[in-house]
Symmetry: C2
Subunit: 145 residues, 2 copies
DNA sequence: TTTATTGGTTTACAAATGTAGACAATCATG
DNA sequence: CATGATTGTCTACATTTGTAAACCAATAAA
């Protein structure tokens, strides 16, 4: 994710997952829920929430004494973004095998599988025989060249 | 990646890609190659290489005055590892659409596509109708429950 | 209304990371 | 052999991240 120059950190991401999942939540709820998974102090979570707000990932609405936190970005695009970022750092030659493994290791619904099959069928005709690594600008590559 | 407790950082990863691609390389080569992509000073690259050596990602062999750097871990497993780590932080419900997008956006060889098709065919019969989010321990989920 | 509790704000600090200068050893060359 | 170029080592420092205590305001309970 990249909003106004600041990235979301791993710890912050875990809190976002909670807010995304619940739609919105108070800090108390968030603290309770995160502590089922992580051994973070109340204070730590508060700090993290604070940072998420200043980074514009969460907005707050005061409800009585407490705050209700709501995501300012949707989960789908966020997930897409961080994954795309990661993939951009991976050698093209590795991506095929990598995706194959991910397909195998991930629990997918029948509908997911069907749409992937469709996508692959579309891709196949124009697919190249082999993939080249673009890690280096030219022919200095020991892997594909 | 997780070797002896220390993670590889993003900047370090970029250097590993070069060494992986070339099989092995001297610092001079590495500096030259990385500077085609990144605006890093010579000194910075040296520091990063040093850290990679102490983190046991690279080994060195002295050849005359200079060092030859060689990867101590293979690229495939490393790529797999970081991706798996990322996926473990993503809601199960997002993974299907996410993978679909990755399939579409990635250049895949015919062979890659074929093996994915095969894998999907195998998976389909036992695939569930729908996927549940496991972000929260129970039924407090606004997405799937 | 006094006090305990709850929840938000500030401040703090160590470790990791990005970034690089300064210095030292080695080697090639005049 | 003296010197400049090459390459490695050490030191440095700002920023980001993880982690949390201390403090303060508002509210609920006594």
């Amino acid at each position: 994710m990249e909003v106004n120059g600041t990235e979301m950190t791993s710890a912050e991401w875990e809190l976002m997952r909670i807010v995304w999942t619940k739609g919105q939540a108070s800090s108390t709820e968030i603290i309770q829920l995160i502590q089922l998974k992580k051994d973070w102090s109340e204070s730590t979570v508060k700090t993290l929430l604070h940072r998420l707000v200043s980074k514009n990932y969460l907005s707050t609405v005061k409800e009585g004494r407490r705050f209700i936190y709501t995501p300012l970005i949707d989960e789908g695009p966020a997930v897409q973004q961080i994954t795309t970022d990661l993939f951009s750092q991976i050698c093209d030659m590795e991506k095929g095998p990598l995706l194959l493994k991910l397909l195998k290791d991930t629990t997918l619904s029948q509908a997911d599988i069907a749409s992937m099959q469709a996508a692959l069928t579309v891709k196949l005709p124009n697919a190249p025989t082999e993939i080249h690594c673009h890690c280096l600008p030219d022919d200095t590559c020991a892997k594909c060249c």
